[in-house]
């Protein structure tokens, strides 16, 4: 079991959600976050002076899936979230030991 953590553009969330749904991936946790990558945010050239917006709003999606689905999920998210410009985000894959369904106590490893 793996956790897939994707940091994407907020405006791409709907597209990513729909794309995942079409692949049968429904369960997810979404949060508003701020962040920056290698470019250190966006630099605005403003009448000769430079203004840095160094933390940009992003959305973090967390999804727990069986190992066999990891590649599909990554590809689906990347394809749906891509604009081709700096700031499209990153995807991380993290091992998960177990998950417990609160309602029933059912354990998955």
């Amino acid at each position: 079991m793996k956790k897939i953590e994707a940091i994407i553009r907020p405006e791409k969330l709907e597209d990513v959600k729909k794309a995942l749904e079409s692949k049968g991936i429904v369960a997810m946790t979404v949060s508003d976050v701020k962040g920056r990558g290698e470019q250190k945010g966006i630099k605005l050239q403003f009448r000769g002076r430079t203004m840095e917006v160094d933390l940009l709003p992003k959305v973090k999606i967390e999804i727990i899936v069986e190992d066999s689905k990891v590649d599909t999920v990554i590809k689906t998210i990347a394809d749906a979230a891509r604009t081709g410009r700096y700031g499209d985000g990153k995807i991380f894959v993290i091992p998960v030991e177990k998950s417990v369904r609160v309602r029933t106590g059912e354990v998955e490893k």
Partner: protein, 404 residues
């Protein structure tokens, strides 16, 4: 000093002016809640800035262009440049000091420019708006105010516009349509959702608009009398009827009635009753309200279906609502509340005159706004850069953020 000052009329007009003033920041909140959170300060600031630009322009020469001596029915001359000798003047045809009349007319001109900011929400360069705003209030608002209230051709023709259905709402609504076409869509419009970020803020703004509108319409009697009382009551009635009719229309179409839809309807009702408030009675105001709620809701759907990013629906609500109000004045005007009657009492002439005046305002506002926007765009550029738009106007234009 000419004429006689009535303390009652003057007191009411001073209070009404302050009520209308509150509408402009109220409109800022109304619009501010509807944009994304990265542009909320920009949206509210645009209303304040519009208010301030017109406040200065109006006392220097705007009032004169609107109310100065008539030049060919089109515009006033500069005889009231900087309001000479106004201190002791009683405004002709009223029993209030000329200075309070100037102030009362000023707050109308100010909110009209603020309404247009709907069209350029989340993408206009602040400096370009200041230039455009000054040009627009000078070349669109002032002539239109002259046509209708300053003794221009529309008034001579006998067109009725009690509180500014054509001057304020048709002009800003159709001006917004033209500006939206010139400035272009927001980046990402139609590709992903741009949901309102704070509906309670919009509801609060709508409440302030509704409240201030009593000054707008009842104040337009320019007296504390029965006509003001009639305007007050029909204003409230039309707003309530339109809020409910938009709500029911959206309930039927979308399955759930949104609070945003309700207040949009109420504002549409306030718009539609504006030209009619001194000429129609309570029954007329109910019909005007019910029709405008359904009409403006469908105009909004039409606007969206055409992929047109007139972002906050000034055209659908103020433009089309104002057009309906101007025509409805010619239908429902009754001798029970004024000297005029409309189509349902057999006065075809008034109905035709209303249509001519309304469509002339539509054409003038649209064409002149389009030209002014093109000029400003060509000379200094209307839009911010793509990156400035992406990070939001709050940071890029004001260096501030609304929420931590």
């Amino acid at each position: 000093m000419t004429g006689h000052i009535s303390a009652g009329d003057t007191a009411w007009l001073l209070a009404a002016t302050a009520l209308v003033m509150l509408m402009t920041p109220g409109l800022g909140l109304f619009y501010g809640g509807m944009v994304r959170k990265k542009n909320v300060l920009s949206m509210i600031a645009l209303s304040f800035i519009a208010y301030a630009i017109v406040s200065i322009q109006w006392v220097i020469y705007g009032f004169s262009l609107a109310f100065g001596h008539d030049i060919h029915g089109f515009i006033g001359d500069l005889c009231y440049f900087l309001l000479p000798n106004f201190y002791n003047m009683v405004w002709p045809g009223t029993s209030v000091p000329a200075l309070v009349y100037v102030a009362f007319q000023l707050v109308f001109a100010a909110i009209t420019l603020a309404i247009i900011t709907s069209a350029c929400a989340e993408r206009i360069k602040l400096s370009a708006f200041i230039v455009f705003g000054l040009l627009w209030t000078t070349f669109v608002y002032d002539p239109l105010a002259h046509w209708v209230w300053g003794g221009g051709w529309s008034a001579s023709l006998g067109a009725l516009d009690f509180a500014g259905g054509t001057v304020v709402h048709i002009s800003s609504g159709f001006g917004a349509l033209a500006l939206a076409l010139v400035i272009g869509k927001r980046s990402g419009f139609g590709e992903y959702d741009m949901e309102p970020h704070n509906i309670p803020m919009t509801l609060l703004g709508a409440a302030l608009l509704w409240f201030g509108w009593f000054g707008f319409n009842a104040g337009s009697a320019v007296a504390a009398n029965a006509s003001a009382a009639n305007a007050f009551l029909v204003t409230n009635t039309a707003a309530a009827a339109a809020g409910l009719s938009w709500m029911f229309a959206s309930w039927i179409k979308e399955g759930k009635p949104g609070s945003l839809g309700f207040v949009s309807g109420a504002v549409a009702g306030l718009v539609a009753i504006t030209p009619a408030a001194g000429y129609v009675g309570v029954p007329g105001s109910i019909v005007i309200g019910i029709v405008v709620g359904i009409l403006c809701y469908n105009m909004m759907l039409f606007r969206i279906s055409r992929g047109l990013d007139e972002s906050l629906d000034a055209w659908a609500v103020h433009g089309m609502g104002g057009l309906w109000g101007a025509i409805a004045t010619g239908i429902f005007a009754t001798k029970a509340v004024s000297d005029y009657s409309g189509l349902i009492y057999g006065n075809v002439h008034q109905f035709v005159v209303q249509i001519i005046a309304a469509f002339a305002a539509v054409a003038y506002a649209f064409v002149v706004t389009f030209i002014l926007a093109k000029i400003v765009d060509a000379v200094i550029g209307l839009r911010v850069t793509e990156e400035e738009e992406y990070v939001g106007l709050d940071i890029s234009q004001h260096g501030e953020t609304a929420y931590a």
